[in-house]
C-alpha cells in the first residue's frame, strides 16, 4: 500500500504535524490493526515513510538479528500518529522517532521538554525511549562552503551583516509557524531577496549560485554531496529533533539491550552518508549494512533489478491508462451519440468535456483528492485519466455521426429501419473511423498523463520520473520517460492495426 508520494526522500514527516495522520482514514488504521495484530512472535520494528526512518528501522532490525533475536521491519507504515497508535496497540514493538516530534505531536506541548520529562510522560503509555542515537535532524540553513568561508559566516546571526545574500526557501518553510517569519524576527535578518523554491531544485540553485542560502534538514544527503555547510543555530531557534528509538516497555530485556547499543552511534555526518547511500542505491538494506561495516566503503546495487522495476511500472501504467480508457469508451460513446443530435443537451455534453480538458492535470488530481470516494489512491488517478480521455471520444463520436451525409441518413430512414437498427447497422459503422481515431487520441493522451499518477502514489512510469525530479537525477527521469514514450508509440501502432479489424472494409477502399 503506497499512500503518499515522497516529495523528498530525507527529512522527518513534518507535514504530518499539520495534516493529521497523512490523509489516512480511520478504517484503514483499523485495517492496519487487524492485519498486524496476528503477528506477535518476532520483534516488529516500524518505520515512517521517508528514507531516514527506513534506514533506522533497517539498522534496528539488523541489530536485533545480530543479537540472535528474531525481528522484522514493517517499512514506511505512514506518519507519526499511525506509528504511535501501532506501538500503543502492540502491532509494533519499536520504531525510530525524534524528540521534537514526540513533544509536539504525541505529548502535544509547546514547551521544550527535557529527555527525562519526555521519558516520564511516555511511561504512562507503557512506552520507553532510548537515549539519543547521536544526531539531531532539524531544520537548518545551509550555504556553499566556499561562500561561507569567503564571507566568514558560521552562525545564522552572521547573516545580519550580509543583506545582499539571496535566500531560497521551500514553500513549506516559508509558511510554517516555526519557519521563516519567526526565524527572521528572532535573528532580525535584513535579507529582502527571498524566493520560494522546491526542495530538490533549491539544491541545484544553491549549487549553481542562483541562491546563496536555503533551508535544509540537517541530515540531508545533499549537504555532503554539494559540499555545503550548516549555519549554527546560535540562538537555539529550531527545536531539537534528536533521533531516538521508542519501544514498548514490555519489550524483552535482551531485545532492549540490543537496541540500546545504537545509542550515540550515529552523528550527523554518518547519518548523512547513510541517507546518501540509501538514495543512491535506493536500497535501505545496503545503507543499513554500511552502518555495520563501520561506515566505510561503498556497496553494489542489489535488490529489485531495473528490469523488474520497469516491468512493475509498465504493468501499473498500462493498468491505469487501460482501465481509464475502457471507462472513457463505455461512457464517451453514448455521450457522443447524444451530443451528435445537437440541442441543449448535446451542447452541454461537449461543453463539459471541453472544460474538463482545459483543467491542468495537476489541478484535476488536486481537486479529486479531497473528495470522499477518492483520496490518495489508484482510483483517483483512474478517475482523472477517465475524465481526460472523455473529450476526444465524445467529440469524435459526435462529429463522426454528424458527418454522415443527409442522403445516407435519409436512405436508412426511407428503408424503414428502426432508430436502433439505423444507429448500430448504419451510422455507427460509418462513423467508426472517426470514433476509433478519438479512442486512439485518448489512449495516447492517457499514456502520457498517467505519468502524473505517481504524484498521488498510484505508481506507473511516473514513479521514476518523479523520484528523478526530486533527486534532480536525469537518468532516473529517463528510466520512466523513455518507456512512457515507447508505450505511447506502441499504443498508436496497436490502434492502427485495430483500425484494419474494426473499420469496415468498404470504408477503407
Amino acid at each position: 500500500m503506497k499512500l503518499l508520494p515522497r516529495p523528498r526522500l530525507v527529512g522527518r514527516d513534518r507535514r504530518a504535524r499539520r495534516r493529521g495522520p497523512n490523509g489516512l482514514s480511520l478504517p484503514s488504521i483499523i485495517l492496519f490493526v487487524a492485519v498486524f495484530s496476528a503477528n506477535a512472535q518476532p520483534i516488529v520494528i516500524g518505520s515512517k515513510k521517508f528514507t531516514e526512518s527506513y534506514v533506522l528501522g533497517e539498522i534496528a532490525k539488523r541489530t536485533l538479528n545480530d543479537a540472535g533475536i528474531s525481528a522484522e521491519h514493517r517499512q514506511g507504515m505512514g506518519g507519526t500518529i499511525i506509528l504511535w497508535q501501532a506501538l500503543r496497540g502492540r502491532q509494533i514493538d519499536a520504531y525510530p522517532e525524534y524528540t521534537g516530534t514526540i513533544g509536539q505531536e504525541i505529548l502535544k506541548t509547546d514547551r521544550k521538554l527535557s529527555l527525562n520529562e519526555i521519558r516520564e510522560a511516555l511511561t504512562k503509555f507503557g512506552v520507553g525511549m532510548t537515549e539519543p542515537l547521536g544526531f539531531n535532524n532539524t531544520y537548518a540553513l545551509v550555504m556553499r562552503r566556499s561562500e561561507a568561508q569567503r564571507l566568514g559566516l558560521h552562525t545564522i546571526s552572521d547573516l545580519r551583516n550580509h543583506p545582499e545574500l539571496k535566500i531560497g526557501l521551500t514553500h513549506e518553510f516559508l509558511d510554517r509557524q516555526d519557519g521563516w517569519q519567526p526565524l527572521r524576527t528572532r535573528y532580525t535578518l535584513p535579507q529582502q531577496n527571498v524566493i520560494g523554491i522546491d526542495h530538490a531544485l533549491g539544491y541545484a540553485a544553491l549549487k549553481n549560485g542562483s541562491i546563496d542560502v536555503k533551508d535544509a534538514y540537517s541530515t540531508d544527503a545533499k549537504i555532503a554531496e554539494y559540499d555545503l555547510v550548516t549555519l549554527e543555530d546560535d540562538l537555539q531557534f529550531f527545536p531539537r529533533y534528536e533521533a531516538v528509538v521508542l519501544y514498548r516497555l514490555s519489550l524483552p530485556a535482551l531485545a532492549l539491550t540490543a537496541l540500546r547499543k545504537l545509542e550515540g552511534t550515529l552523528d550527523e555526518t554518518r547519518m548523512i552518508r547513510l541517507n546518501a547511500e540509501a538514495e543512491r542505491t535506493r536500497n535501505y538494506e545496503i545503507a543499513a549494512n554500511l552502518y555495520f561495516q563501520g561506515g566505510t566503503g561503498s556497496t553494489t546495487v542489489a535488490g529489485e533489478s531495473f528490469w523488474h522495476k520497469l516491468r512493475r511500472w509498465t504493468l501499473r501504467h498500462l493498468e491505469l491508462a487501460g482501465s481509464s480508457l475502457l471507462l472513457a469508451v463505455i461512457v464517451g460513446i453514448p455521450l457522443g451519440i447524444i451530443a451528435s443530435r445537437g440541442g441543449p443537451s448535446g451542447q452541454a455534453i461537449l461543453g463539459f468535456a471541453s472544460v474538463v480538458q482545459t483543467i491542468p492535470s495537476l489541478a484535476l488530481l488536486a481537486l479529486l483528492v479531497p473528495l470522499p470516494f477518492f483520496g490518495i489512491s489508484v482510483r483517483t488517478a483512474i478517475a482523472a485519466l477517465f475524465l481526460y480521455g472523455l473529450l476526444p471520444i465524445v467529440r469524435n463520436t459526435a462529429s463522426g455521426l454528424q458527418d454522415i451525409s443527409r442522403a445516407l441518413r435519409e436512405s436508412a430512414i426511407a428503408l424503414g429501419l428502426s432508430p436502433m437498427a439505423r444507429l448500430w447497422k448504419i451510422n455507427m459503422p460509418m462513423a467508426s473511423r472517426s470514433i476509433l481515431a478519438g479512442i486512439k487520441t485518448s489512449a495516447v493522451i492517457n499514456i502520457g498523463t498517467a505519468t502524473l499518477a505517481a504524484l498521488i502514489g498510484a505508481g506507473g512510469l511516473g514513479e521514476p520520473i518523479l523520484s528523478g525530479l526530486n533527486l534532480n537525477d536525469h537518468v532516473t527521469i529517463l528510466q520512466g520517460a523513455i518507456p512512457a514514450a515507447l508505450l505511447a508509440l506502441l499504443v498508436q501502432w496497436g490502434f492502427d492495426l485495430l483500425d484494419r479489424v474494426l473499420i469496415p472494409k468498404g470504408l477503407r477502399l
Partner: protein, 277 residues
C-alpha cells in the same frame, strides 16, 4: 395482408387479389389512387416549399414530377416517404393516412432510390440489398431466390454482389440501389432523379431498362426529374410543378397542345430547343 406478394415480381394488379368482387375491383382501380395527397402544404423556415396541393398517384402507372430546381418536386417526394411531415393536409397510402405511428411500416411498402444511390459504403452490394430483409428476419432461401430474380431483372452480374459501392461504377450502383428498393416488392417506387448523375450513354441504356422493368412489374412509380425528354419517355402522367405548386397535370401532348399558362409553354419549348437542336 400482401405477404404473399412480397417476393413476386409478376404482380397482377395487386388490389384485385384482395378484393372479393371482381367487378367492384375494376371500378375501384379506375377510381382510387394508390397515393392520395389532400391539401398538403409545407413551409421551410419562412419560405413555402409546397403550397396547398392535391395529387393522386395512379396504380400501375409511372407518374413523373417535373419542374425547375426548387419547384417543390423533391419536397413532395420526401413528404410521401415521411422524411418530412406536412404542415397541413393528409397523405394516404392505399387509404391509410401516414402518421408518425405507422410511417415505419408504410416505408417498407415504398421503395426509394436517390440520385447518388444512397448505398451504404460500409456494406457490400449484397448486404445493401438484403439489409431490410435481414432486419425483418426473412429466411436465407427466400432472400437468395429474390436476389437472383432481381439480378436478372436489373441485368446485374451476380459476382459483383460482394463488391463495395466504391468498387462499382455509377450505373452499377444505381442498379444495386434499384434492387434494394425493390427487394421487398414495394407497392410504390419513388425515384428522385435516379439517373441524374450518370453519363449520357449509361443513362440512355438504363432509361430503356428501367422502363421495361416498370412495365414488367406493373410497378406504380413516382419519378422525379428535371429533364423533359426523360419525363416524356417514362411518364404515363406528367405533373409539372413551379414555385411550390402543380401548374399542369396530364400527358406530354396535353401539356404541349393545351398549356395551362405561359410557364408551361416556356418550360416545354426551352427544353425541346435544348434537346432537338
Amino acid at each position: 395482408m400482401r405477404v404473399c406478394l412480397v417476393f413476386s415480381i409478376s404482380r397482377v394488379v395487386p388490389t384485385c387479389r384482395d378484393d372479393p368482387g371482381r367487378g367492384q375491383c375494376l371500378r375501384l382501380q379506375e377510381m382510387s389512387a394508390l397515393v392520395q395527397l389532400v391539401d398538403v402544404s409545407k413551409r421551410y423556415a419562412n419560405a413555402a416549399a409546397l403550397h396547398s396541393t392535391n395529387l393522386a398517384i395512379e396504380r400501375g402507372k409511372t407518374t413523373v414530377l417535373i419542374g425547375p430546381s426548387g419547384c417543390g418536386k423533391s419536397t413532395l417526394l420526401r413528404l410521401i416517404i415521411g422524411l418530412i411531415t406536412p404542415d397541413s393536409g393528409t397523405i394516404a397510402l392505399e387509404g391509410s393516412q401516414i402518421t408518425p405511428a405507422n410511417v415505419g411500416a408504410l416505408r417498407r411498402r415504398i421503395g426509394y432510390v436517390i440520385q447518388e444511390g444512397g448505398l451504404f459504403p460500409h456494406l457490400t452490394a449484397r448486404a445493401n440489398i438484403l439489409l431490410m430483409a435481414r432486419h425483418l428476419g426473412k429466411s436465407h432461401e427466400e432472400m437468395r431466390t429474390r436476389l437472383l430474380e432481381l439480378c436478372e431483372l436489373t441485368r446485374f452480374s451476380g459476382n459483383l454482389l460482394s463488391r463495395y459501392p466504391i468498387e462499382l461504377s455509377g450505373g452499377q450502383r444505381q442498379r444495386v440501389s434499384l434492387m434494394r428498393a425493390l427487394m421487398l416488392a414495394p407497392e410504390l417506387l419513388l425515384l428522385d432523379e435516379p439517373l441524374g448523375a450518370l453519363d449520357p450513354l449509361v443513362r440512355a441504356s438504363l432509361q430503356k431498362e428501367l422502363k421495361e422493368i416498370f412495365a414488367r412489374l406493373r410497378q406504380t412509380t413516382l419519378f422525379v426529374t428535371h429533364d423533359l425528354a426523360e419525363a416524356a419517355y417514362f411518364g404515363d402522367e406528367i405533373v409539372l410543378m413551379n414555385e411550390g405548386r402543380i401548374v399542369q397535370q396530364g400527358s406530354l401532348v396535353d401539356l404541349r397542345e393545351k398549356p395551362a399558362n405561359d410557364f408551361v409553354s416556356e418550360f416545354i419549348n426551352s427544353q425541346r430547343a435544348l434537346a432537338f437542336t
